[in-house]
Symmetry: C2
Amino acid sequence: MPDRLWKVGELAARTGLTVRTLHHYDAIGLLSPSGRTGSAHASGHRLYIAADVTRLHQIVCLKQLGFSLEQVKEYMTRADYDPRAVVRLHLEKVRRQAAELAELGDRLEALANTLDAADAVSPDTFLETIEVMTMIEKYYTPEQLEQLKQRKEQVGDARIKEVEAEWPRLMAEVRTAMDAGTDPADPKVQDLARRWVGLVNEFTGGDPGIFKSLSSMYANEDNVRGMDVPAMRTMMEYVQKAMSAAGITFAGQ
Amino acid sequence: MPDRLWKVGELAARTGLTVRTLHHYDAIGLLSPSGRTGSAHASGHRLYIAADVTRLHQIVCLKQLGFSLEQVKEYMTRADYDPRAVVRLHLEKVRRQAAELAELGDRLEALANTLDAADAVSPDTFLETIEVMTMIEKYYTPEQLEQLKQRKEQVGDARIKEVEAEWPRLMAEVRTAMDAGTDPADPKVQDLARRWVGLVNEFTGGDPGIFKSLSSMYANEDNVRGMDVPAMRTMMEYVQKAMSAAGITFAGQ
DNA sequence: GGTACACCCTGACGTAACGTGAGGTTCAAG
DNA sequence: CTTGAACCTCACGTTACGTCAGGGTGTACC
């Protein structure tokens, strides 16, 4: 039956496409039926011949390979392309997209694991976790993250909670000393500086790379886990004076 | 500077978004600035406060995880979701998409290799190759394809070309016999049937699975590599009568 | 106080590949 | 000649903005 005629509905049923899709292909000039009922009356029913069916099949194939309708059209009208080059190029694009999606998947999985490890997950902690993770990924290399993860396991949750509680206390004391106009060289301030350096060293583990990433993060972000970083930068200048006076430095800088 | 105000341009520069994007977020109610210049005059410049900046940051993070703006909005307004479940669900979706893209990549690579192996690649042979590959993927399992590939290497290109040239000749002869009204039991027709069976056996290698897939393909498709399959089905009935008369069967059926 | 100029504003249309009606017409059977 | 199914042509909706067009605003300088 090579000279049989097909109506849209039949063709749609056969190919798994919808009637609307065939209408669309007609509208954009990708596949117009070779005939219509009622001759030139316009608005007659579409009649597709065998050649149209073949063309449609090719269109579907190219679509399944991920080409856009525009590309398919270009490709089928102007046949002056090098098929190999086209396929190779398209392949590269698909590979890139696949890699990106896979990486996104990895990040989501890491997030999911982090959330599972947390005690309670309110929407707020959720948003905070995401923010922290995103920021962290921006400043630390994957190797550094692995390193931090191992250190975290060594140190243990208890100590981490202690440190997290210690920071606000320390910052409050530094602020008090600054507001009081205390000389950074004052032994009390030098003590504060020693505690500050101690906490930072505990985090970096003396690794210069991690110290650099950390510095970079606090230099560029204004908000890290809800902390007022600009204020911290001001304190840092003060603390650094005290460090000079006490003759101490960060580990591994 | 927690109480500093930001204008769209500044915020855009800081976040890497565009001004238009911020306008868009405002328009869809995802992030509206807390203030405007010129009070209630309408059409004053947008003024974002620190809280707005934080919210924007969270929006950006969620977007980078692949959530749609609609989802982000839902998530940030109604906070009665289980973050873990949401992330796991989203993760699965992303993984599925990544797998699909990876598979598409594999198919494209197979296509590219096939094209590289071909002598000349005109757009027509290209389209034909795609059609054949797509159809083949539909009927044969990956294992069967591997099997066919190995057999193809064993047999060699020369024999494949011979067979491809032989089919049209054979079909023409069968048609002639049919049109002449020759009895299928006629020895001449039995010979034709033997040749037919021989060619099919050579392709299937006597594998029942491949025979089944092949049959399925020719039973469901009306066009395989430009061949008039409906006509072949008619011939097949005739050939089968001759096969019965000759007492032969397909290998491994 | 005026003026330049950068920056801001609000529409409004375009994108890809159709989905989804609305409202009217045509075909094939009875 | 009448159904009912299948068909027809608009035309708007979808996503996340890009890209003008045409006109206001803020601020620095004279």
